[in-house]
Symmetry: C2
Subunit: 217 residues, 2 copies
Protein backbone atom coordinates (compact mmCIF):
# COMPACT_ATOMS: atom_id res chain seq x y z
CA UNK A 1 0.00 0.00 0.00
CA UNK A 2 2.78 2.38 0.98
CA UNK A 3 4.46 1.68 -2.36
CA UNK A 4 1.29 2.37 -4.33
CA UNK A 5 0.65 5.60 -2.46
CA UNK A 6 4.15 6.77 -3.20
CA UNK A 7 3.88 5.83 -6.89
CA UNK A 8 0.58 7.68 -7.10
CA UNK A 9 2.12 10.77 -5.53
CA UNK A 10 5.01 10.69 -7.98
CA UNK A 11 2.56 10.47 -10.89
CA UNK A 12 0.58 13.40 -9.51
CA UNK A 13 3.75 15.41 -8.93
CA UNK A 14 4.84 14.73 -12.49
CA UNK A 15 1.44 15.75 -13.85
CA UNK A 16 1.49 18.98 -11.84
CA UNK A 17 5.04 19.70 -12.98
CA UNK A 18 3.95 19.30 -16.59
CA UNK A 19 1.00 21.65 -16.02
CA UNK A 20 3.32 24.22 -14.45
CA UNK A 21 5.73 24.01 -17.41
CA UNK A 22 2.92 24.32 -19.94
CA UNK A 23 1.54 27.42 -18.19
CA UNK A 24 5.03 28.88 -17.89
CA UNK A 25 5.66 28.34 -21.61
CA UNK A 26 2.36 30.07 -22.44
CA UNK A 27 3.42 33.05 -20.30
CA UNK A 28 6.84 33.30 -22.03
CA UNK A 29 5.25 32.96 -25.48
CA UNK A 30 2.90 35.85 -24.66
CA UNK A 31 5.20 38.23 -22.80
CA UNK A 32 8.73 36.86 -22.75
CA UNK A 33 10.65 35.77 -19.64
CA UNK A 34 9.80 39.16 -18.13
CA UNK A 35 6.20 37.96 -17.81
CA UNK A 36 7.26 34.79 -15.99
CA UNK A 37 6.86 35.65 -12.32
CA UNK A 38 6.38 32.92 -9.73
CA UNK A 39 3.26 34.58 -8.31
CA UNK A 40 1.46 35.11 -11.62
CA UNK A 41 2.35 31.57 -12.68
CA UNK A 42 1.01 30.06 -9.45
CA UNK A 43 -2.26 31.91 -10.10
CA UNK A 44 -2.41 30.63 -13.70
CA UNK A 45 -1.94 27.05 -12.52
CA UNK A 46 -4.29 27.52 -9.57
CA UNK A 47 -1.84 26.51 -6.86
CA UNK A 48 -0.23 28.29 -3.91
CA UNK A 49 3.10 30.00 -4.60
CA UNK A 50 4.62 27.68 -1.96
CA UNK A 51 3.63 24.61 -4.01
CA UNK A 52 5.28 26.14 -7.05
CA UNK A 53 8.54 26.58 -5.15
CA UNK A 54 8.43 22.87 -4.22
CA UNK A 55 8.78 22.07 -7.94
CA UNK A 56 11.15 24.88 -8.97
CA UNK A 57 13.46 26.46 -6.42
CA UNK A 58 13.63 29.85 -8.13
CA UNK A 59 12.67 31.67 -11.28
CA UNK A 60 16.03 31.01 -12.92
CA UNK A 61 15.60 27.24 -12.57
CA UNK A 62 12.06 27.40 -13.94
CA UNK A 63 13.06 29.72 -16.80
CA UNK A 64 15.94 27.40 -17.75
CA UNK A 65 13.59 24.42 -17.94
CA UNK A 66 11.01 26.32 -20.01
CA UNK A 67 13.86 27.38 -22.30
CA UNK A 68 15.10 23.80 -22.67
CA UNK A 69 11.65 22.39 -23.44
CA UNK A 70 10.92 25.05 -26.09
CA UNK A 71 14.40 24.94 -27.61
CA UNK A 72 14.41 21.15 -27.85
CA UNK A 73 11.30 21.39 -30.04
CA UNK A 74 12.98 23.92 -32.34
CA UNK A 75 16.18 21.89 -32.53
CA UNK A 76 14.31 18.70 -33.48
CA UNK A 77 12.28 20.50 -36.15
CA UNK A 78 15.50 21.86 -37.67
CA UNK A 79 17.30 18.50 -37.47
CA UNK A 80 14.45 16.80 -39.30
CA UNK A 81 14.83 19.21 -42.22
CA UNK A 82 18.64 19.19 -42.25
CA UNK A 83 18.67 15.38 -42.22
CA UNK A 84 15.93 14.88 -44.84
CA UNK A 85 16.93 13.31 -48.18
CA UNK A 86 18.06 15.70 -50.92
CA UNK A 87 21.06 17.79 -51.98
CA UNK A 88 22.91 19.39 -49.00
CA UNK A 89 22.57 22.98 -50.28
CA UNK A 90 18.80 22.60 -50.61
CA UNK A 91 18.57 21.07 -47.15
CA UNK A 92 20.56 23.97 -45.69
CA UNK A 93 18.33 26.52 -47.43
CA UNK A 94 15.17 24.68 -46.34
CA UNK A 95 16.38 24.47 -42.73
CA UNK A 96 17.16 28.21 -42.63
CA UNK A 97 13.80 29.14 -44.17
CA UNK A 98 11.93 26.87 -41.79
CA UNK A 99 13.81 28.16 -38.73
CA UNK A 100 13.17 31.79 -39.69
CA UNK A 101 9.48 31.14 -40.42
CA UNK A 102 8.92 29.32 -37.11
CA UNK A 103 10.62 32.15 -35.24
CA UNK A 104 8.59 34.72 -37.16
CA UNK A 105 5.31 33.08 -36.29
CA UNK A 106 6.12 32.93 -32.56
CA UNK A 107 8.06 36.15 -32.47
CA UNK A 108 7.82 36.90 -28.76
CA UNK A 109 8.85 33.36 -27.84
CA UNK A 110 11.67 33.30 -30.39
CA UNK A 111 13.14 36.55 -29.09
CA UNK A 112 12.85 35.26 -25.52
CA UNK A 113 14.70 32.07 -26.46
CA UNK A 114 17.42 33.71 -28.54
CA UNK A 115 18.23 36.97 -26.82
CA UNK A 116 15.97 38.26 -24.05
CA UNK A 117 18.07 39.42 -21.08
CA UNK A 118 17.33 36.88 -18.38
CA UNK A 119 18.74 34.86 -15.46
CA UNK A 120 22.20 33.30 -15.99
CA UNK A 121 20.71 29.79 -15.82
CA UNK A 122 19.04 30.49 -19.18
CA UNK A 123 22.31 31.79 -20.64
CA UNK A 124 23.88 28.46 -19.66
CA UNK A 125 21.18 26.58 -21.53
CA UNK A 126 21.64 28.91 -24.51
CA UNK A 127 25.30 27.91 -24.74
CA UNK A 128 24.42 24.21 -24.60
CA UNK A 129 21.74 24.47 -27.26
CA UNK A 130 23.94 26.54 -29.55
CA UNK A 131 26.48 23.73 -29.40
CA UNK A 132 23.74 21.23 -30.30
CA UNK A 133 22.65 23.41 -33.22
CA UNK A 134 26.26 23.69 -34.38
CA UNK A 135 26.61 19.91 -34.27
CA UNK A 136 23.61 19.50 -36.55
CA UNK A 137 24.97 22.04 -39.03
CA UNK A 138 28.38 20.37 -38.78
CA UNK A 139 26.89 17.03 -39.93
CA UNK A 140 25.36 18.70 -42.96
CA UNK A 141 28.58 20.58 -43.79
CA UNK A 142 30.46 17.30 -43.75
CA UNK A 143 27.95 15.75 -46.15
CA UNK A 144 28.09 18.83 -48.39
CA UNK A 145 31.90 18.70 -48.46
CA UNK A 146 31.79 15.00 -49.32
CA UNK A 147 29.31 15.71 -52.12
CA UNK A 148 31.64 18.43 -53.42
CA UNK A 149 29.04 21.21 -53.12
CA UNK A 150 30.37 22.91 -49.95
CA UNK A 151 33.97 24.04 -49.57
CA UNK A 152 34.55 24.20 -45.81
CA UNK A 153 37.90 23.49 -44.13
CA UNK A 154 37.05 24.18 -40.48
CA UNK A 155 33.79 22.30 -39.95
CA UNK A 156 33.19 23.10 -36.28
CA UNK A 157 34.09 26.79 -36.57
CA UNK A 158 32.02 27.22 -39.71
CA UNK A 159 29.05 25.47 -38.10
CA UNK A 160 29.36 27.89 -35.17
CA UNK A 161 29.43 30.83 -37.60
CA UNK A 162 26.17 29.61 -39.12
CA UNK A 163 24.50 29.34 -35.71
CA UNK A 164 25.64 32.85 -34.78
CA UNK A 165 24.56 34.37 -38.09
CA UNK A 166 21.09 32.84 -37.85
CA UNK A 167 20.52 33.90 -34.25
CA UNK A 168 21.76 37.44 -34.84
CA UNK A 169 19.82 37.97 -38.08
CA UNK A 170 16.64 37.16 -36.18
CA UNK A 171 17.34 39.09 -32.95
CA UNK A 172 16.81 42.55 -34.42
CA UNK A 173 13.65 41.87 -36.42
CA UNK A 174 12.11 39.83 -33.57
CA UNK A 175 12.93 42.25 -30.79
CA UNK A 176 10.23 44.26 -29.02
CA UNK A 177 11.80 47.61 -30.16
CA UNK A 178 11.51 46.39 -33.78
CA UNK A 179 7.86 45.55 -33.17
CA UNK A 180 7.22 49.00 -31.76
CA UNK A 181 8.95 50.58 -34.78
CA UNK A 182 6.80 48.49 -37.11
CA UNK A 183 3.65 49.50 -35.28
CA UNK A 184 4.73 53.15 -35.57
CA UNK A 185 4.95 52.72 -39.34
CA UNK A 186 8.74 52.52 -39.77
CA UNK A 187 9.90 50.12 -42.47
CA UNK A 188 11.15 46.83 -41.07
CA UNK A 189 12.42 43.69 -42.76
CA UNK A 190 9.75 41.13 -43.66
CA UNK A 191 10.06 37.39 -43.09
CA UNK A 192 10.89 37.06 -46.77
CA UNK A 193 13.73 39.63 -46.41
CA UNK A 194 15.18 37.83 -43.39
CA UNK A 195 14.80 34.43 -44.96
CA UNK A 196 16.38 35.47 -48.25
CA UNK A 197 19.25 37.36 -46.57
CA UNK A 198 20.00 34.35 -44.38
CA UNK A 199 19.92 31.80 -47.21
CA UNK A 200 22.17 33.91 -49.45
CA UNK A 201 24.59 34.71 -46.61
CA UNK A 202 24.91 31.12 -45.42
CA UNK A 203 25.06 29.37 -48.79
CA UNK A 204 27.73 31.77 -50.02
CA UNK A 205 29.62 31.48 -46.74
CA UNK A 206 29.99 27.70 -47.12
CA UNK A 207 31.02 28.03 -50.75
CA UNK A 208 27.77 26.66 -52.21
CA UNK A 209 26.24 28.00 -55.41
CA UNK A 210 23.17 30.20 -54.85
CA UNK A 211 19.74 29.07 -56.04
CA UNK A 212 18.92 30.78 -59.33
CA UNK A 213 15.91 32.66 -58.00
CA UNK A 214 17.95 34.54 -55.38
CA UNK A 215 21.02 36.09 -56.96
CA UNK A 216 21.73 38.55 -54.08
CA UNK A 217 21.44 38.71 -50.30
CA UNK B 1 34.04 77.33 0.47
CA UNK B 2 30.98 75.08 0.45
CA UNK B 3 31.19 74.93 -3.33
CA UNK B 4 34.87 74.01 -3.32
CA UNK B 5 34.28 71.28 -0.74
CA UNK B 6 31.50 69.79 -2.84
CA UNK B 7 33.57 69.94 -6.02
CA UNK B 8 36.44 68.25 -4.22
CA UNK B 9 34.15 65.48 -2.99
CA UNK B 10 32.80 64.91 -6.50
CA UNK B 11 36.37 64.65 -7.83
CA UNK B 12 37.23 62.16 -5.10
CA UNK B 13 34.08 60.16 -5.77
CA UNK B 14 34.90 60.02 -9.47
CA UNK B 15 38.44 58.92 -8.76
CA UNK B 16 37.24 56.16 -6.43
CA UNK B 17 34.65 55.07 -8.98
CA UNK B 18 37.40 54.76 -11.62
CA UNK B 19 39.56 52.73 -9.21
CA UNK B 20 36.64 50.42 -8.50
CA UNK B 21 35.99 49.91 -12.22
CA UNK B 22 39.66 49.25 -12.94
CA UNK B 23 39.84 46.64 -10.16
CA UNK B 24 36.57 45.10 -11.32
CA UNK B 25 37.86 44.83 -14.90
CA UNK B 26 41.03 43.15 -13.64
CA UNK B 27 38.90 40.58 -11.74
CA UNK B 28 36.76 39.84 -14.82
CA UNK B 29 39.85 39.57 -17.04
CA UNK B 30 41.34 37.02 -14.62
CA UNK B 31 38.30 34.95 -13.70
CA UNK B 32 35.26 36.12 -15.64
CA UNK B 33 32.15 37.70 -14.16
CA UNK B 34 31.96 34.73 -11.79
CA UNK B 35 35.01 36.16 -9.99
CA UNK B 36 33.37 39.56 -9.62
CA UNK B 37 31.87 39.48 -6.13
CA UNK B 38 31.16 42.69 -4.24
CA UNK B 39 33.09 41.51 -1.19
CA UNK B 40 36.26 40.43 -3.01
CA UNK B 41 36.19 43.63 -5.05
CA UNK B 42 35.86 45.82 -1.95
CA UNK B 43 38.92 44.03 -0.54
CA UNK B 44 40.89 44.57 -3.77
CA UNK B 45 40.11 48.29 -3.70
CA UNK B 46 40.67 48.52 0.04
CA UNK B 47 37.27 49.94 0.94
CA UNK B 48 34.32 48.72 3.00
CA UNK B 49 31.66 46.75 1.13
CA UNK B 50 29.18 49.46 2.16
CA UNK B 51 31.21 52.13 0.31
CA UNK B 52 31.19 49.93 -2.78
CA UNK B 53 27.40 49.71 -2.66
CA UNK B 54 27.22 53.52 -2.57
CA UNK B 55 28.79 53.55 -6.05
CA UNK B 56 27.09 50.48 -7.52
CA UNK B 57 23.74 49.34 -6.18
CA UNK B 58 24.23 45.69 -7.04
CA UNK B 59 26.50 43.30 -8.87
CA UNK B 60 24.40 43.44 -12.04
CA UNK B 61 24.83 47.22 -12.30
CA UNK B 62 28.57 46.96 -11.70
CA UNK B 63 28.98 44.07 -14.14
CA UNK B 64 27.05 45.99 -16.81
CA UNK B 65 29.36 49.00 -16.43
CA UNK B 66 32.50 46.86 -16.54
CA UNK B 67 31.08 45.21 -19.65
CA UNK B 68 30.38 48.58 -21.30
CA UNK B 69 33.85 49.98 -20.55
CA UNK B 70 35.63 46.89 -21.91
CA UNK B 71 33.35 46.52 -24.93
CA UNK B 72 33.66 50.17 -25.89
CA UNK B 73 37.42 49.67 -26.19
CA UNK B 74 36.95 46.64 -28.45
CA UNK B 75 34.37 48.42 -30.58
CA UNK B 76 36.62 51.44 -31.12
CA UNK B 77 39.60 49.28 -32.03
CA UNK B 78 37.48 47.47 -34.61
CA UNK B 79 35.99 50.70 -36.01
CA UNK B 80 39.45 52.14 -36.50
CA UNK B 81 40.43 49.19 -38.69
CA UNK B 82 37.13 48.99 -40.58
CA UNK B 83 37.29 52.73 -41.34
CA UNK B 84 40.97 52.84 -42.32
CA UNK B 85 41.82 53.66 -45.93
CA UNK B 86 42.06 50.72 -48.33
CA UNK B 87 39.87 48.31 -50.29
CA UNK B 88 36.71 47.23 -48.36
CA UNK B 89 37.43 43.48 -48.56
CA UNK B 90 40.89 43.98 -47.08
CA UNK B 91 39.49 46.17 -44.32
CA UNK B 92 36.88 43.52 -43.48
CA UNK B 93 39.55 40.80 -43.37
CA UNK B 94 41.85 42.98 -41.26
CA UNK B 95 39.04 43.84 -38.83
CA UNK B 96 38.13 40.17 -38.38
CA UNK B 97 41.75 39.12 -37.87
CA UNK B 98 42.33 41.90 -35.37
CA UNK B 99 39.14 41.16 -33.44
CA UNK B 100 39.98 37.46 -33.22
CA UNK B 101 43.58 38.16 -32.17
CA UNK B 102 42.55 40.60 -29.44
CA UNK B 103 39.98 38.13 -28.12
CA UNK B 104 42.55 35.33 -28.25
CA UNK B 105 45.08 37.28 -26.22
CA UNK B 106 42.54 38.14 -23.49
CA UNK B 107 40.66 34.92 -23.70
CA UNK B 108 39.01 34.92 -20.29
CA UNK B 109 37.83 38.51 -20.71
CA UNK B 110 36.63 37.92 -24.27
CA UNK B 111 34.55 34.90 -23.23
CA UNK B 112 33.13 36.91 -20.33
CA UNK B 113 32.14 39.73 -22.67
CA UNK B 114 30.72 37.57 -25.45
CA UNK B 115 29.01 34.69 -23.73
CA UNK B 116 29.53 34.10 -20.00
CA UNK B 117 26.18 33.45 -18.31
CA UNK B 118 25.65 36.51 -16.15
CA UNK B 119 23.10 38.99 -14.75
CA UNK B 120 20.41 40.24 -17.20
CA UNK B 121 21.82 43.79 -17.03
CA UNK B 122 24.88 42.52 -18.92
CA UNK B 123 22.66 40.78 -21.50
CA UNK B 124 21.00 44.15 -22.11
CA UNK B 125 24.38 45.76 -22.75
CA UNK B 126 25.31 42.86 -25.04
CA UNK B 127 22.28 43.59 -27.23
CA UNK B 128 23.18 47.30 -27.42
CA UNK B 129 26.81 46.65 -28.32
CA UNK B 130 25.89 44.05 -30.92
CA UNK B 131 23.77 46.71 -32.60
CA UNK B 132 26.72 49.12 -32.53
CA UNK B 133 28.99 46.45 -34.03
CA UNK B 134 26.39 45.75 -36.72
CA UNK B 135 26.23 49.46 -37.57
CA UNK B 136 29.98 49.57 -38.12
CA UNK B 137 29.88 46.52 -40.38
CA UNK B 138 26.89 48.03 -42.17
CA UNK B 139 28.91 51.15 -43.09
CA UNK B 140 31.63 48.98 -44.57
CA UNK B 141 29.15 46.81 -46.46
CA UNK B 142 27.65 49.92 -48.02
CA UNK B 143 31.09 51.10 -49.13
CA UNK B 144 31.92 47.64 -50.48
CA UNK B 145 28.65 47.53 -52.43
CA UNK B 146 29.35 50.98 -53.85
CA UNK B 147 32.84 49.86 -54.86
CA UNK B 148 31.32 46.81 -56.58
CA UNK B 149 33.29 44.30 -54.47
CA UNK B 150 30.49 43.19 -52.11
CA UNK B 151 27.11 41.99 -53.32
CA UNK B 152 24.77 42.54 -50.37
CA UNK B 153 21.08 43.39 -50.74
CA UNK B 154 19.98 43.51 -47.10
CA UNK B 155 22.65 45.61 -45.42
CA UNK B 156 21.32 45.60 -41.86
CA UNK B 157 20.48 41.89 -41.81
CA UNK B 158 23.81 40.94 -43.37
CA UNK B 159 25.70 43.13 -40.90
CA UNK B 160 23.86 41.34 -38.08
CA UNK B 161 24.83 37.97 -39.59
CA UNK B 162 28.49 39.02 -39.53
CA UNK B 163 28.28 40.05 -35.86
CA UNK B 164 26.65 36.75 -34.94
CA UNK B 165 29.12 34.67 -36.92
CA UNK B 166 32.11 36.39 -35.31
CA UNK B 167 30.79 36.10 -31.77
CA UNK B 168 29.82 32.46 -32.17
CA UNK B 169 33.05 31.39 -33.87
CA UNK B 170 34.93 32.72 -30.86
CA UNK B 171 32.64 31.45 -28.08
CA UNK B 172 33.64 27.80 -28.41
CA UNK B 173 37.43 28.24 -28.68
CA UNK B 174 37.46 30.87 -25.91
CA UNK B 175 35.25 29.02 -23.47
CA UNK B 176 36.64 27.55 -20.23
CA UNK B 177 35.67 23.99 -21.32
CA UNK B 178 37.75 24.48 -24.49
CA UNK B 179 40.66 25.65 -22.36
CA UNK B 180 40.36 22.60 -20.14
CA UNK B 181 40.27 20.36 -23.23
CA UNK B 182 43.38 22.07 -24.57
CA UNK B 183 45.18 21.63 -21.28
CA UNK B 184 44.21 17.96 -21.31
CA UNK B 185 45.88 17.62 -24.70
CA UNK B 186 42.81 17.45 -26.95
CA UNK B 187 43.23 19.14 -30.31
CA UNK B 188 41.61 22.58 -30.42
CA UNK B 189 41.49 25.26 -33.08
CA UNK B 190 44.40 27.72 -33.05
CA UNK B 191 44.06 31.47 -33.47
CA UNK B 192 45.15 31.02 -37.04
CA UNK B 193 42.37 28.43 -37.62
CA UNK B 194 39.72 30.71 -36.13
CA UNK B 195 40.99 33.75 -37.96
CA UNK B 196 41.17 31.99 -41.32
CA UNK B 197 37.76 30.32 -40.91
CA UNK B 198 36.19 33.68 -40.03
CA UNK B 199 37.77 35.60 -42.89
CA UNK B 200 36.81 32.98 -45.46
CA UNK B 201 33.28 32.63 -44.07
CA UNK B 202 32.59 36.37 -43.95
CA UNK B 203 34.21 37.39 -47.25
CA UNK B 204 32.38 34.65 -49.11
CA UNK B 205 29.13 35.49 -47.30
CA UNK B 206 29.18 39.10 -48.55
CA UNK B 207 30.06 38.00 -52.08
CA UNK B 208 33.67 39.22 -52.01
CA UNK B 209 36.51 37.35 -53.71
CA UNK B 210 38.79 35.47 -51.30
CA UNK B 211 42.42 36.50 -50.83
CA UNK B 212 44.64 34.21 -52.89
CA UNK B 213 46.55 32.79 -49.93
CA UNK B 214 43.39 31.40 -48.32
CA UNK B 215 41.42 29.40 -50.88
CA UNK B 216 39.27 27.54 -48.28
CA UNK B 217 37.63 28.18 -44.88
Amino acid sequence: MAYRTTALRIDRDQALRQRILASALARVAAGGFAALTMQALAEDVGIATGSLYRHFHNKGELAAEVFAVASQGELEALQQTLRAPGPPAERLAAGLQQFAARAWHSRRLAFALIAEPVEPQVDEQRLLFREAYAESFGELLEQGNAAGVFRVSHLGLTAACLVGAIAEALVGPLSPPARAAREAGYPAPSLSDVSQALVTFCLRAVGAPLPEKEPQS
